[in-house]
Subunit: 304 residues, 2 copies
Amino acid sequence: MSLPTKVSIVEVGTRDGLQNEKQYITPEDKIRLLDTITDAGVRRIEVTSFVSPKHVPQLRDAQEVLAGCKRSPDAEYEALVPNVRGMERALECELDGVMLFVAASETFNQKNIRASRETMLGVAREVARMALDAGLKLRGGVVAAFGCPYEGRISDEDVEWIVGEYVDMGCGEIGLADTVGMTNPAEIKRLTTYIREKFPSVRYALHLHNTRGAGLANLLAGLEVGIDTFDASIGGLGGCPFAPRATGNIASEDSINMLHEMGIETGVDLPKLLEAVAHAEKILDRQLPGQLLHAGIPDWEMAS
Amino acid sequence: MSLPTKVSIVEVGTRDGLQNEKQYITPEDKIRLLDTITDAGVRRIEVTSFVSPKHVPQLRDAQEVLAGCKRSPDAEYEALVPNVRGMERALECELDGVMLFVAASETFNQKNIRASRETMLGVAREVARMALDAGLKLRGGVVAAFGCPYEGRISDEDVEWIVGEYVDMGCGEIGLADTVGMTNPAEIKRLTTYIREKFPSVRYALHLHNTRGAGLANLLAGLEVGIDTFDASIGGLGGCPFAPRATGNIASEDSINMLHEMGIETGVDLPKLLEAVAHAEKILDRQLPGQLLHAGIPDWEMAS
């Protein structure tokens, strides 16, 4: 199979990236990051999450940030919505799409949301109806599809069940998530191909974490089975609550650089995006896991 | 093409990994690292380098370290040898193999060794003769084969020239190096395949750096064209003198974990190898770039 010639990077830095940061990042700083990301030509941005402000205080400013960030007509602005109350808040904002959220692992749901998968699927179905009624695009996110920090291996049937429910709810896109960076390229190819053959009518995205260093190898594996949409965060923002010193999402700039070097188009102005990475490092006052800011974009035509 | 079922990781942590460390690591600590690496079942170890002690004081203890480290009958112990003086010192030690060293880039050779490629090839030929006379295995290392920090793109003809010389000198293995981590999976596949078709009689290894985060993706690309030998360093030890805050070699433990997860055998006891990584972090008093020590080996069979 030939590789996709164009890839969409879904920037999740201000959502997945920031949600585990203890230090509160002001709406002004979030908006500045988002505006630079928009200016860099990123076509899809998961801006924030309408989780309970009590549970994730970092994202309590979801509405303010969505109201304040600039919009490009070429980009889509999305948010994670875990429940009906969140969807009510989301409907007060200007949004292009909504991400639903259910883990393929029963224990992950119980420990993180204190609800069963059955219950969460029921909630997701209500949220989906509200979002579709409002004309929004829908992605169904399958958390821990490639492995669970509590249960270990997740059966294909469990993933298939959640995806089937999402397809039935009207999701146009399914996001398969390696939430704690446990998977490997062979499994990326196997499970993604298996699920896509079961449900061929929808689009697929991969949500990859670099927790064990294999993030871009997993991205490559996804490309090799035809996946053209990947979540990533500027600087590799975002930690792993299950391994405090491990890294989080794959870094947008490292992913985009690899894609560009392979001749795959993303539409992103990489030097501009690095401005957002540098700003994120300044706000958080530490070096982030993304490599490109410090290594530099390769210069192939330099004079000797 | 199906992937190799077995892969050799060549541990280069105490050579490439340490050579840029300003803090001198004592022979005792180097030997303790090496002994743990041997105990972990690593089958090839590039122990040290016989460069001038004046130029690389960190490795001035090459003979002492080679004399002191334990040997496994299943493992090969190798050293980098840049010149005849170095080979004379190497011949006083117990060694299984020698790595030769010429950059495909003229400027890289001039700036780093103050010699032309022609001159260095002449020196390598003398070293090769001495090594073969002593019954040692020979790898020809093509530095900056996938890109040069001074010249940018390197022509296929330049790489082909160096490899051809090495084959003529009697090297049984060619190591193609992405010395400053500039390359990408597509180029790994293209250049490796091109060179192997030109010189099919020798074995090939890839020396990869994770400078821009694509190290394990490049390893995967190598696997996919049938390469089964990769250099790596414990903890991702080793920086990049051209980008002071960037990372160095691909991390052995992250590479081996990905291979094991893919069902590819390396012979390495990963928990044991992590002891060497932890010891390296203790010696250097900082967190190294390798992820696995902090994220943990995935546990697939845990109870829910």
